[in-house]
Subunit: 250 residues, 2 copies
Amino acid sequence: MAGIVYLIGAGPGDPDLITLKAVKAMQAADVILLDDLVNRDILQHAPQARVIEVGKRGGCKSPPQHFINRMMIALAEQGQTVIRLKGGDPFLFGRGGEEMLELRSAGIAVEVIPGITSGIAVPATLGIPVTHRAYTHGVSFVTGHLQDGESGQNWKALAESGTTLVIYMGMKHLATITRELLETGMSPDTPAAAIQNGSLPQQQHVTSTLALLTTAVQQAGMGSPAIIVIGDVVRLAHSKDLLQSVSIAA
Amino acid sequence: MAGIVYLIGAGPGDPDLITLKAVKAMQAADVILLDDLVNRDILQHAPQARVIEVGKRGGCKSPPQHFINRMMIALAEQGQTVIRLKGGDPFLFGRGGEEMLELRSAGIAVEVIPGITSGIAVPATLGIPVTHRAYTHGVSFVTGHLQDGESGQNWKALAESGTTLVIYMGMKHLATITRELLETGMSPDTPAAAIQNGSLPQQQHVTSTLALLTTAVQQAGMGSPAIIVIGDVVRLAHSKDLLQSVSIAA
């Protein structure tokens, strides 16, 4: 009997932010390949399944992508029901697209079960809606990951689009990103926030402005994983610390 | 005892694409205010709750937003646990931001529970990842809703951003939107898809190109609600009908 691979989004961190569809798939799983950004509490839905960790832990290098692909293919060819559990959503910066194509070309049945993406859910924990009619007509989700020292983003076009900018994987190169955005002519006073470990008990955040965000993040001692939000919607954050962060950092 | 309002995202349509957190909140609800894009099967999680329909049904006008706001406030002031259940995610074109602010200024406790947004999950049903490293570094979610005949979008900047474009509420003015995108210099051959009733059994879709999408949608007799996707990632759709649609419509 042929196996199948489910590419499943586990959401931003809070174990209750997983879908019923994902829970049902987990209950029928033989084996789960787990990324390290996934909250382990989610595994309670699959006590019967073998769990294989395929993410980076404690500074170790993660198994290369082709090794993960081959493992999924081999397990499915043995007739197993395989779950590839990823943080957030598998199709928004999750490499789910690449894995789907590999599985398809190997003739393996694959189904995608979407997850709550951090770029929407994490700002929501502070009361920041990524869109609001009074402020913007849209939102752009981009990576802050650099290749060869370049972000590959057209920051000028993104700034001119008028959309809220939500940046994933942007903490390491935050100073470069904010400088490039300032160089496009975006106002230094544009409200900006960074939120680490969003939706988890250890969540930390700063709200500030585009010009002062890097300093505010450094002062708070924050790092990855985090979501960065830049745009007027950040004004709607519940906390009163927008002005405080600015005055601390100024 | 003070009441509370939960602004909850019900996801794109498939009743299993709701979160465990939403289900738990529904189990404790006294009353549910329901939008009409929400799948009624989801109400099975709250058999005890009173359900009030606040969306447009059968061409009737929906209750004005301020009426919904006043109803939520009045119910919460009576000490009730109120759920405002919306399609997709409340903070991405869901007016959740506006409702949150109204509730906050009335002194009502409000909690947001994110939902799976259609702009990610609906393309995924066709195997389209909204991002893929080989094609794009990001995705922009925008509305196609016009105000005074204008979309309010900077299509030129959006096209130059190089992000995948996902357009919500764009079917009514699809011809205008695609014409404006072509006028920015975006290639007429850019792959494009429209998906109606995504994630539901009655889902319908066409894949085509930017230049031919409007014709393809008309030929298929499609309407709202639908998600439009424009960008190279549409090439990854499983179906073989990308080329077919093009040849039909050409």
